[in-house]
Symmetry: C2
DNA sequence: AATCCTGTTACAATAAATGTTGCAAGTTAC
DNA sequence: GTAACTTGCAACATTTATTGTAACAGGATT
């Protein structure tokens, strides 16, 4: 399959809404920045709204962060857009009559959960505010 | 795309080789345990051999772990089969003329590298021996 | 010599992602 | 109040990384 960049695009949307809050915040404008199409942006925004990270108004291009960027973590965005999607994936079709095939799924589930937890702890430690500040610093450094 | 279970299948192969070392270790026998096809198993085994985790002999069904299972980590297997594949993926096509689009790739690269490192540290802490022991314990608990 | 095996390649099929299109319904400006 | 925008949602097409399948040269075993 293709690799997902929902998380990247989701962060992009939230950062855009924060940085350009006094400019055009239509899905078309944001899509131009992501170089994606407005429909995808609206799909992602709908998920961010549902997860309580963003507010929006039907009919009006007026999205806003639902809470301060410092209180939104990368993990919040990940879970909003990817749900409980695991980073690593079990092979769910193994031969149950084999010692290995019959038990490895359970064993790997434990191991993968540990990896997932480590990754999520790190994602929780990264805030949207940190990313926005980094973006603005990089922009300032260009001039 | 499909989700990759190369890592799961790779661990499966290594565990199988260790547990069934006195039985049939042909790619067909291992494939039957994974419920995959022998060609896939041979492809994965070739990568494990190249990475120095497994030994094999052309023409003879005689694979063996290249070093003790306690000295093979989940990270070793991951890197053998997935190379340097990142768990999270940047959107590489953003508008460089936008403050967000022009800088977010670099910002997210840093953030994602931190997440990757946390996940890899956890993978490094999980040994093949640990997984094999867990498999054998689960099997024993069935009776 | 016959039969199995590995190692490798090329191509087909599958599945999860994004792209595209269309439209009902809300909002704003005039 | 109507024209021109917007969001929100759904259906379908396209893309692409994966696994599946088939074929075959060459080594190993009996």
């Amino acid at each position: 399959m293709k690799y997902s960049h929902k998380l990247s695009d989701g962060v992009h949307i939230l950062a855009y809404v924060d940085i350009y809050q006094d400019a055009d915040l239509s899905s078309g404008a944001i899509a131009a920045s992501i170089e994606a199409n407005p429909s995808l942006v609206r799909r992602l925004m709908a998920q961010l709204v549902k997860a309580g990270l963003l507010t929006s108004q039907p009919g009006a291009a007026a999205p806003a962060l639902a809470r301060p960027a410092a209180e939104i973590s990368l993990l919040d965005v990940y879970q909003a857009l990817e749900g409980n999607k695991e980073l690593l994936h079990i092979d769910e079709k193994t031969n149950p009559q084999c010692i290995v095939g019959g038990n490895i799924q359970a064993s790997l589930n434990v191991a993968y959960a540990q990896v997932q937890q480590a990754a999520e702890a790190q994602m929780a430690a990264i805030s949207l505010q940190g990313i926005i500040s980094d973006i603005l610093q990089r922009e300032a450094a260009k001039h």
